[in-house]
């Protein structure tokens, strides 16, 4: 349905597009990080595309691949009723991406979410604050090497025995993959 849009963008930016594909009815373009702002600006302004609604921005952590993080932008057009997904690959040694809130103001909270949960920094914006967690929190929890139960409390808690009852790895265990970020202690952190 939006293969026309896919081809249009790919033809306009031939050197920036790494590859494009269509799966389950979704059209996806993988582009280079440097061309991100230009591609998004083109998608927003071009009358043939009119992708003016920023649906979402998320990040996936492919811990076994290099580059590690993949940012996924989803754009929609309310007038032409088509959708396009744009992906950018970012490595963990250099997790910086230019910001797109100049084009889509709705991406503001999503960019803060990517910083909070994955550690992707967006250059060009004044404040890069965490969205859901508090500033005293260390680490980026949605990364695959952060333990599920890595609680960092703000206030001292009563010493109650922590019963392991939920799914996922138990307290103290970490998935067997390299720890890229320094792992915070499992006990409540009292500052």
């Amino acid at each position: 349905m939006s293969e026309k849009a896919l081809r249009q963008v790919a033809e306009k930016f031939p050197e920036a597009v790494l590859h494009g594909y269509s799966q389950h009815g979704d059209e996806t373009l993988v582009i280079k990080r440097e061309a991100l702002v230009d591609v998004l600006q083109y998608c927003h302004d071009d009358p043939g595309l009119q992708l003016k609604l920023p649906a979402s921005l998320t990040c996936v952590d492919y811990i076994d691949e290099k580059p590690r993080f993949e940012l996924v932008y989803t754009l929609y057009s309310v007038t032409l009723k088509h959708r396009l997904r744009i992906k950018v690959r970012v490595g963990e040694e250099d997790p910086e991406v230019p910001t797109s809130i100049g084009i889509y103001r709705g991406m503001d909270y999503w960019e803060r979410y990517c910083w909070d949960m994955y550690g992707i920094r967006f250059t060009g914006r004044e404040d890069m604050r965490r969205l859901w967690l508090y500033e005293e929190f260390e680490g980026h929890p949605l990364r695959k090497d952060y333990p599920l139960r890595g609680r960092q409390g703000l206030i001292p808690e009563r010493d109650v025995r922590d019963i392991f009852r939920g799914p996922g790895p138990g307290p103290g265990s970490v998935p067997a993959s390299r720890a890229a970020t320094p792992r915070p202690s499992q006990l409540p952190v009292i500052k």
């Binding site: 005293e136 929890p141 599920l148 139960r149 609680r151 703000l154 206030i155």
Partner: protein, 188 residues
């Protein structure tokens, strides 16, 4: 009677004088039938809280319909919904600001024990930071269950001893415990 007997008194009634007992019962009756609640509502259980405030499952018939939105004026802290680690200092602060006598109800499984959110963000039960009187499990609990919990709380209040004048030490405040960072601006 505050003399130190080495004998164990099995009935608290017999440890108090007649007048204190009658006063305690009267005050207990008055306090249990006019609970001013502070609804500390966070999540889905808040919807069931709205339901019991409504006309069908009426919490007003227990005298507890009046939510006081200031902790200084409330005596029942109903912690409704999940409390996560960012919200925990705020809950502690609200609890510290309430005047004695005060009771705490943990409404829902998330407040009682963290629910099924056993992860990096959620406080595993509010009894890790404040003392709780009644736990109402359920996700969310049915309104009848909540009213049952409220009745349980009322029975507990009725059976507590309420002195006319409280000579006890004031509870430790956050300021005195050295946590100055919690006073200025919450968790920021």
């Amino acid at each position: 009677m505050s003399s130190d007997f080495s004998m164990i008194t099995t009935r608290r009634d017999e440890a108090e004088g007649f007048f204190q007992r009658m006063v305690s019962r009267g005050l207990g009756w008055a306090r249990k039938n006019s609970l001013f609640q502070y609804p500390f509502v966070t999540a889905c259980c808040g919807m069931e809280f709205m339901t019991i405030s409504g006309a069908r499952y009426d919490i007003a018939r227990f005298g507890a319909e009046f939510p006081r939105f200031s902790p200084r004026q409330a005596d029942l802290l109903m912690v409704v919904g999940t409390v996560n680690l960012k919200q925990a200092p705020i809950l502690k602060r609200v609890y510290d600001q309430m005047a004695e006598p005060k009771w705490v109800v943990a409404f829902g499984v998330c407040a009682s024990s963290g629910g099924f959110y056993d992860n990096y963000a959620v406080l595993q039960g509010i009894d890790r930071i404040i003392p709780v009187d009644v736990y109402i499990p359920g996700c969310p609990p049915r309104p009848e269950q909540v009213l049952d919990g409220l009745i349980l709380l009322q029975e507990k209040i009725a059976s507590q001893s309420h002195p006319l004048v409280d000579h006890g030490a004031p509870p430790e405040l956050t300021a005195a415990s050295g946590r100055q960072d919690l006073l200025a601006g919450g968790s920021r």
